[in-house]
């Protein structure tokens, strides 16, 4: 599947395109098929997202898993600071990244 990610223009937060809006959680990301480029341009013009790009991801039971480790780190947060990730209560969340 193809999903879109970028950073929130104002806050810098990592965000994922859900089909309607942007979410901070990669599990909400939607498959954009071959519509990625069009959505990118529209959303960039709408000034909510900064530097958006399309990535390949794998659909899993927990939702989309980005193909590249870099985007998995982005999806979770720094593996060395579990308290600052999106899953602060789950000390093993970093395993998903690797």
């Amino acid at each position: 599947m193809n999903i879109i990610t970028g950073n929130d223009l104002k806050t810098g937060d990592v965000i994922w395109w859900t089909g309607l809006d942007w979410s901070r959680f990669v599990k909400d990301a939607t498959d954009v098929g071959d519509q990625g480029e069009a959505i990118l341009h529209r959303e960039e013009a709408a000034r909510r997202v900064n530097a958006p790009y399309i990535i390949a991801a794998e659909q899993t039971d927990d939702g989309p898993r980005p193909g590249h480790i870099k985007d998995r780190v982005r999806a979770l947060g720094p593996t060395v600071r579990p308290d600052l990730t999106l899953k602060p209560a789950d000390p093993d969340a970093g395993e998903w990244v690797i």
Binding site: G12, D13, V14, I69
Partner: protein, 544 residues
């Protein structure tokens, strides 16, 4: 310490308001990201893995308590309660909001700080010896010269669009604590035979994908011509440096391709021309700057006596303090490398505490070191015990300066968008594996430096032991390097062979340190044994 005059302050304040307006226009859609990006980068604001990242300049690594406290305030108010001190004596914040960046910069400006020229192809923060002005082994305080270079290079119109970024370091002793020869221009203050002060110039050093040690191009430039000589070095680079290829654009490539002799000849020609034009800064300006760096009001009667009956304190004194030029005083290094910690990270509470301690015990001054630690440069020996107790309570008293757990690590894949592999977890695991202080001290001075990619922000080329993160078909892999040094015995490390997994590289380091213990002769540090014994033996031990 230097204090802004009205011009310095005005320049910085004007820039903050300019940026405020630019951010407003970006958020309103009047500027696209393509238009805005160069503007935010000019103000140190990057976009990294998780958010905007701000790099704040700490000129030659020197700051006072009020400035340090402001860094803590920024961590608390605009970031997630911590900052990361870097190998270029700066601090980085990882979670900055664009909409808040102008207020943040205004707060910084209120204590004479900014993030200007911390990005882009300009002259970056001037780095220096963290012991400047305090150490027993210097011939002069290098900071007035670093400050002169700062003023000359700030907003210098001719050097705002160089072929590539440009880094200076200035030192004034034979011991190099600033990795001087791994800078684009390294300057060492020296005396000539007549006893006059001047500068030795080293040009064309650097790390990155093509590491080089800067060759000496002139043994003595009279002190009052130092700026003109630097300007001549830059002019030749600006004219002939390669703008067609980012990877060949640094001055080191130019010096290497032209050859040191030809590059020097051109610099000398330019220098002669500049001397005719009389472009040296006025002598009064240097005198004005130098006054700011006068010695603090030492107590000349302060005693050299120290009660070392507390063994933990004694270890810290032995490992983390250095000889001072003033009797009765010591230079104390606060290690930001606790067991299992993140090298260079400090919480706002720790930053505040260090600010308090500087005010109380170090004439209101602190330094940031290129190995990501903090220095209190002027501590009375009779205050060391009280200082150590307060540091210890806050987890700031690891007695590991220059030992294997005092590693340098770049942000790596946990924060950096250019990374191939994570650096910090490696530093943490090595710190755990070698946690026993007795074992660390047995190994002695051992500089471990870790980068997450070829850009070498973590100085892996200059590590006695270096680690470089590479991407191996989408998984993290780590190459091991041996034999580098960023000190006065500068050398570039060599890759041992095929890369390793995270645990694999830590095992390999243990193999290497074991071999050192087995092979070393009296008084040899790790690097000395490596140089004597050679790579082959280490390779054999690692790869069998």
């Amino acid at each position: 310490m230097y204090q802004y005059d009205q011009y310095d302050q005005q320049m910085v304040d004007t820039r903050v308001e300019e940026f405020r307006d630019q951010v407003k226009r970006r958020l309103a859609g009047d500027l696209t990201e393509d238009q805005f990006k160069p503007l935010r980068l000019m103000n140190g604001l990057y976009l990294q893995l998780h958010a905007y990242m701000l790099r704040v300049a700490i000129p030659y690594g020197t700051l006072n308590g009020k400035q340090m406290r402001m860094l803590g305030h920024i961590a608390r108010k605009y970031d997630r309660d911590y900052g990361h001190f870097t190998t270029r004596q700066n601090i980085q914040y990882n979670w900055i909001k664009l909409e808040e960046a102008p207020d943040l910069l205004a707060d910084l400006a209120s204590v004479e700080m900014h993030a200007i020229q911390t990005s882009g192809n300009c002259i970056r923060n001037i780095s220096s010896d963290q012991f400047a002005g305090a150490t027993a082994d210097e011939i002069a305080d290098p900071r007035p010269w670093a400050e002169l270079l700062r003023q000359w290079s700030s907003f210098h119109p001719e050097f705002s669009y160089l072929p590539r970024k440009f880094k200076f370091a200035v030192i004034a002793s034979d011991t190099d604590r600033a990795a001087m020869r791994l800078h684009d221009i390294g300057i060492q203050l020296v005396h000539n035979e007549a006893g006059e002060l001047g500068a030795k110039f080293f040009v064309g050093g650097g790390m990155g994908r093509t590491p080089m040690i800067a060759p000496e191009i002139r043994g003595f430039v009279p002190a009052d011509e130092l700026i003109s000589y630097a300007e001549a070095c830059l002019r030749v680079y600006n004219r002939y440096g390669r703008r067609d290829n980012k990877y060949k654009a640094r001055i080191k490539i130019l010096v290497h391709e032209l050859g040191k002799e030809e590059y020097t000849r051109q610099v000398e020609e330019e220098f002669a021309h500049m001397k005719e034009l009389g472009l040296n800064p006025p002598v009064e300006e240097l005198a004005r700057i130098t006054e700011f760096f006068a010695d603090p009001a030492y107590n000349k009667q302060a005693s050299d006596g120290l009660d070392l009956s507390d063994p933990d304190f004694a270890l810290w004194v032995d490992q983390n303090t250095a000889a001072h030029k003033q009797s009765g005083y010591a230079i104390a290094t606060i290690s930001l490398k606790p067991r299992g910690g993140i090298p260079g990270d400090a919480s706002s509470a720790q930053i505040d505490l260090m600010a308090d301690l500087a005010e109380q015990y170090s004439f209101d001054e602190l330094r940031v070191t290129h190995s990501q630690n903090i220095v209190l440069p002027y501590v009375k020996k009779s205050d060391l015990y009280a200082l150590w107790q307060k540091l210890d309570e806050a987890g700031l008293a690891p007695a590991n300066l220059d030992l294997i757990t005092d590693s340098i690590a770049c942000p790596g894949l946990d924060y950096c968008s250019l990374a191939n592999a994570r650096s910090i977890p490696l530093a943490q695991k090595i710190s755990e594996r070698f946690a026993d202080l007795g074992r660390q001290r047995e190994l002695g001075e051992l500089k471990l430096k870790i980068s997450g990619c070829i850009n070498a922000c973590g100085h892996h080329h200059a590590g006695h032991i270096g680690i470089l993160g590479v991407d191996r078909k989408g998984t993290e892999n780590h190459q091991l390097l041996l034999g580098g040094s960023g000190a006065e015995d500068a050398s570039l490390a060599k890759i041992t062979g095929p890369g390793f997994t995270e645990d694999g590289v830590i095992d390999a380091i243990e193999t290497v340190t074991d071999l050192y213990l087995e092979q070393r002769e009296d008084g040899e540090r790790f690097i000395d044994t490596y140089r004597r014994v050679g790579m082959e033996k280490f390779k054999e031990a690692i790869y069998g």
